[in-house]
């Protein structure tokens, strides 16, 4: 069968690649809803190093998607079942120490190889996870949630057991998702969110304290912190965290920055801090993310940060959703009808 793959060939330009799918080997999923990640937006806008762009493009964008099974030669799934597609392709699934998303040689769909902007996604059976009873628009951001789940799990395995107060720096979509996961994981913990946008901060109704970055009380202290700012904001967020965190706290770094960030190493050493870098996620994290999504309270919190744009039926619609995303406060999702 001939598959249509909608590739970004250069910033702001899409072209269709036609590729044959071997029908008999892999599961075929028809994408139904997709969500835009900032990484996709950076490719679309050309906000990556020229050398990086040259090595990664042409490539289909999008790694957050939910679809339905339309063909399964393995007989594992029923036709029509809704599944999230896992973009990480591990180099070594038997590795018990290094997580699949950090293994050298692992591949990631929409970073160097084609993402999910395709007519059909042919994918191995272990790279999909079943989703039931979840609004498809919310389920489309499952990959995004799984990255937060992964970060919280790593935090749990590394951070010391005093977890009375946890700080989250960053009031964007990712800070929101991490806050949702922490709320479910540590119901009695005091959650503090620091951000730059009062409107965005007002959406964090389920946390205990919110502060604008310039108005943090001097006496604030947190046991641990999650940095979800990214970009140039990473510098200020990490600096604040080092100032306000208690000794031997763990700092989970999640914000991506194109430029190198200066950090106050003296205070890190003095306080004996642990920094945990986190990126992407693996199958296990997807399964846990789906469990969270099945909790109605969790689902309804996430609904607040989802903006559904009109369906995508043409390449000009793809441009439209990327432009819409620039003007939405949180996550842009859309129905895939192409």
């Amino acid at each position: 069968m001939i598959n249509y793959i909608y590739q970004l060939v250069s910033p702001g330009n899409f072209s269709v690649k036609y590729e044959e799918i071997d029908y008999t080997k892999e599961i075929i999923v028809r994408p139904l809803y997709m969500s835009i990640c900032q990484a996709d937006q950076r490719y679309y806008l050309g906000k990556r190093e020229v050398k990086k762009l040259k090595s990664k493009l042409p490539m289909a964008l999008i790694h957050e998607s939910i679809g339905e099974i339309v063909y399964d030669p393995t007989g594992t799934y029923n036709l029509g079942q809704k599944v999230v597609t896992i973009p990480n392709i591990p180099a070594n699934q038997d590795d018990k120490i290094i997580y699949e998303n950090y293994q050298e040689g692992s591949k990631f769909m929409s970073s160097g190889i084609d993402g999910f902007m395709r007519e059909f996604v042919n994918i191995p059976a272990d790279r999909i996870a079943l989703v039931e009873n979840v609004d498809l628009r919310i389920a489309s951001i499952c990959e995004f949630i799984s990255v937060g789940v992964h970060a919280v799990n790593r935090f749990k395995s590394v951070a010391h057991s005093i977890r009375n107060k946890i700080g989250i720096w960053g009031d964007g979509s990712f800070g929101y998702v991490v806050a949702c996961i922490l709320r479910e994981s540590f119901p009695n913990c005091n959650l503090v969110v620091v951000g730059k946008n009062a409107f965005k901060l007002s959406q964090f109704t389920f946390v205990d304290e919110v502060y604008l970055a310039g108005d943090i009380p001097d006496d604030l202290s947190v046991d641990h912190a999650f940095e979800c700012a990214g970009g140039s904001g990473s510098f200020y967020a990490i600096d604040d965290i080092i100032n306000y965190i208690n000794p031997q706290g763990s700092v989970v770094l999640l914000g991506v920055s194109e430029n190198k960030i200066a950090v106050n190493t003296r205070n890190i050493l003095e306080k004996g801090l642990i920094f945990i870098g986190c990126s992407r996620s693996g199958r296990e994290d997807f399964e846990k993310a789906i469990k969270f999504l099945e909790v109605p309270r969790f689902q309804s919190r996430l609904r607040r940060i989802i903006f559904e744009d009109e369906p995508v039926k043409s390449i000009s619609d793809i441009h439209r959703v990327f432009k819409t995303d620039l003007n939405t406060s949180f996550k842009t999702v859309f129905k895939w009808d192409l």
Partner: protein, 239 residues
């Protein structure tokens, strides 16, 4: 019910490549026959209850062998005997559908050329929706070149306004019974003139909704089409 009807009744060969009908020629790196590529796309549309293949009687056995070779064992697929020309193949398929599933005003048929393997699921789904809503639809693309009409093949008769012009592709989809009723009501002269199914509806002033096609939804008819299709898929383009 909703039926796919892949029209592959031809035995003629405009390509001078082999004695084989063009729908059976290998395409792409896999060298799968064109009709298998087309059929596989139709199989993935869950809205189609059954898919009928209209194949010339001399090639039915060959088609069955191909389906075994490419492990297409879906019980959704039924082979029907093709007719002398396109509309007759469609009518043969309709006859077989009615024998298998009975007559119904609501039966929809999505007809498609076997030699258009670049059809997309979107086109098929939009055809189904449009046929249900409007009774008939045609897949088209906007005309990029100026269309010239010449009734004598020597001089221009007229130059229609380009923005009103479209190029017809397939799928063409419609209510099965409406097509049969109109076709049976046509004179022999009218039938000879109306070789296109949607033309039959338009001739009787029935509304035919337009569905957006794709420039790459090409009909592989000539040697150059075949080379282009193979080039797009990285297949063999040698002479």
């Amino acid at each position: 019910m909703i039926f796919g009807a892949i029209v592959a009744g031809g035995v003629g060969n405009r390509m001078n490549i082999t004695g084989m009908p063009k729908q059976f020629l290998p395409l792409g790196k896999s060298e799968k026959p064109i009709i298998i590529h087309t059929l596989e796309k139709f199989i993935l549309c869950d809205e189609l209850d059954y898919i009928y293949l209209g194949v010339h009687k001399e090639w039915i056995e060959y088609m069955e062998k191909l389906m075994r070779k490419y492990e297409i064992d879906s019980n959704k697929i039924i082979i029907a005997e093709g007719g002398a020309e396109r509309n007759l193949t469609i009518l043969n398929i309709i006859d077989k559908i009615e024998k298998d599933h009975g007559e119904s005003e609501s039966h929809i048929i999505v007809t498609h050329d076997a030699v258009r393997p670049f059809v997309t699921l979107r086109m098929i789904k939009e055809n189904i929706q449009a046929a249900i809503q409007f009774g008939a639809c045609d897949t088209v693309i906007e005309a990029v070149d100026t269309i010239i009409e010449s009734t004598d093949g020597e001089c221009i008769t007229s130059v229609p306004k380009r923005s009103d012009m479209y190029l017809g592709q397939t799928p063409q989809s419609f209510k099965m019974k409406s097509f049969k009723d109109i076709y049976n009501d046509l004179s022999k002269e009218e039938r000879d003139l109306l070789t296109d199914a949607c033309k039959v509806f338009a001739f009787r002033n029935k509304k035919v909704k337009l569905v957006r096609g794709d420039t790459f939804n090409i009909k592989i008819t000539t040697t150059s089409d075949y080379k282009i299709a193979n080039a797009i898929l990285g297949g063999n383009v040698g002479d």
